[in-house]
Amino acid sequence: MTKPYTPWFLLAVALALAAVYLFPLYWMYVTSLKGSSEIFANPPTFWPRDPDTSVYPEVWARRTMPVYLWNSVVIASGVTAITVILGTGCAYVLARYRNVWIDIGLFCVLMLQVLPASVMVTPLFVGFNQVGLLSYPRTAVVLAAAAKAMPFFVVLVRATFMSVPRELEEAALVDGNSRIGAFFSIVLPLARNGILVCAILTFMSAFGEYIYSKSIIQSPNLQPASVGLSGFLGPNSSDWSGIMAYSAIYVTPILAAFVILQRRIVSGLTSGALK
């Protein structure tokens, strides 16, 4: 093979592509640091003239962000807990056997994975109303969002379990372990990392959950940060440095977690999502 270019040239192109692609993120941080007149400067400045972080504490207090973020954490934790507890066992069984029933179960899970939240939100709202769950709106949102998150979790974690050698489990059974014992002492520890990554992904997506919270939770004290942001947006909003500061506070923890775990998340997704 003749190569007219060097790997370093490719690296430069790759960095340029990444810079173009990630420009919206950069623009969020830069805008949040600009003063109110500089925001509407024409042409816009690509580096703030005098970076000003005073908007951060101001937005933090004025938009009652601690309340919103705490609700996001509560909802995301609930969703992750339900998803991990119920989804892990399901994924394990679906990974261990091959027969018609497993095929049917897997088919059900795949079908549920494709349901859009906007299709489910009307019947869930009316159903929750009838069973009285609307009095506990955060719980209702957790249940609804967990049902949405679980199929994807099962599909990903199933791929993790399939990479755990069966022989180890069988050896444990021969040594006198029960199925429960083998599951908890052999299989789960071996699949721990994969499960953890999928749990973090579930947490991240539930942290941004919007549609169920917006539809089900009426009280601002119980709403998550996504709903808080939507109340800030409105068609005539002009406080762009405030909105961008809010967004930055909201996503920076997610971005940090993602960058730290990037390799594991990418490998977890690539092994699971296509199978």
């Binding site: 790997p7 490719l10 790759a14 960095l15 990444a18 692609y21 990630l22 919206p24 623009w27 969020m28 805008t31 024409n42 042409p43 119920l86 066992g89 399901c90 056997y97 091959r98 095929d103 897997l106 059900c108 549920l112 349901l115 859009p116 906007s118 299709v119 489910m120 009307t122 019947p123 009316v126 109303n129 009838q130 609804a144 967990a146 679980m150 099962v154 029960s178 199925r179 429960i180 941004g208 919007y210 917006k214 539809s215 940060a225 996504s226 942001l229 939507s230 947006l233 909105i243 967004s247 996503v251 997610i254 971005l255 990037q262 390799r263 998340i265 990418v266 997704l269 690539t270 296509l274």
Partner: protein
């Protein structure tokens, strides 16, 4: 009794318990609402009958009423523009990037992984950022396009009826591009290298190698990625409230957001349910394609 306990500890009961708990949960919170949705689309549902289980049946009245809504065809058209515009953009750009990152150079995997931040961000934040980038007066996209001489006057992406749906499409392409690229990269990596070397020895040029080796070898991957793209696009909701709220005058409204508006802004739950049943038929089509394309793996 002890036999059941033993089965739970050691036999098939353990498996049934694990799967059963998850499936019962999913059926209660996803399967049952889906059926309930279909039922509601044939009933008269309003604020007075919201709490009742049995409501007057109205046959296909809701469907007729939905189709007769003046915005119905506009929303249908927008849904198709949104779905196919997003899918085409995500797939073509994602494939191009996947091909690029399949080259060997230092840091390729890490840089490729960084692209995925778009996918883990909350949809509403993505919408807020793009709302600012696409702003008509002070949006940075207009400035960049003008600098390169592509446009002369500012485009009011969010408020111009000709562009509003495309504003959401652009944001959605950005959101889903990286996931497409990642999955396509997996497919590319699975193609044996020696196929390319053999083809090169036989004198095939880069385009011929792509056409005769890459595309055929990736058929099942492409099928899965396209159907996942269709599903993901139909699931997209958060960008609409953040960017255009379906406006101006429904020119950027799509089925999913319209259904939500009917239910939660106009409190017409029957029509909301009807629209989402119609949308579900579209999703059903996508999922059949998706399940078919993953079936070979499912069967083992």
């Amino acid at each position: 009794m002890s036999r059941i306990l033993n089965a739970l500890r050691d036999g098939v009961g353990f498996d049934i318990l694990l799967v059963g708990a998850a499936l019962i949960f999913l059926l209660a919170l996803a399967g049952a609402p889906l059926l309930y949705n279909v039922l509601m689309s044939f009933q008269q549902v309003d604020m007075f009958t919201l709490g009742a289980l049995f409501r007057p049946f109205v046959g296909f009245d809701n469907y007729v009423a939905v189709v007769r809504q003046p915005e119905f065809w506009l929303v249908t058209r927008n849904t198709f523009i949104f779905v196919f515009g997003s899918m085409a953009g995500q797939f073509v750009l994602g494939f191009a990037l996947a091909l690029f990152f399949a080259q060997r150079f230092p840091g390729a995997a890490t840089i490729r992984g960084l692209f995925l931040v778009s996918w883990v961000m909350p949809g509403l934040v993505v919408g807020a950022i793009w709302s600012w980038i696409l702003a008509g007066d002070f949006g940075v996209l207009n400035v960049i396009l003008k600098t390169f001489g592509i446009i002369d006057t500012n485009i009011f992406w969010k408020s111009d009826p000709n562009f509003s749906i495309w504003a959401v499409v652009i944001a959605n392409i950005w959101l889903g591009l990286a996931f497409n690229m990642l999955l396509l990269s997996v497919g590319l990596a699975a193609i044996p290298r020696d196929l390319y070397e053999a083809a090169e020895l036989d004198g095939a040029n880069a385009f011929q190698r792509f056409w005769t080796i890459t595309l055929p070898m990736m058929r099942s991957t492409i099928g899965a990625v396209l159907s996942l793209g269709l599903i993901g696009t139909l699931q997209q909701f958060d960008l609409f409230p953040a960017l255009t709220e379906g406006g101006p005058a429904n020119t950027s409204n799509v089925a999913g957001f319209w259904s939500w508006q009917l239910s939660f802004q106009l409190y017409d739950f029957a029509k909301g349910a009807t629209v989402s049943v119609m949308m579900f038929l579209l999703v059903l089509f996508a999922s059949v394609v998706y399940v078919r394309s993953t079936r070979h793996e499912v069967r083992g």
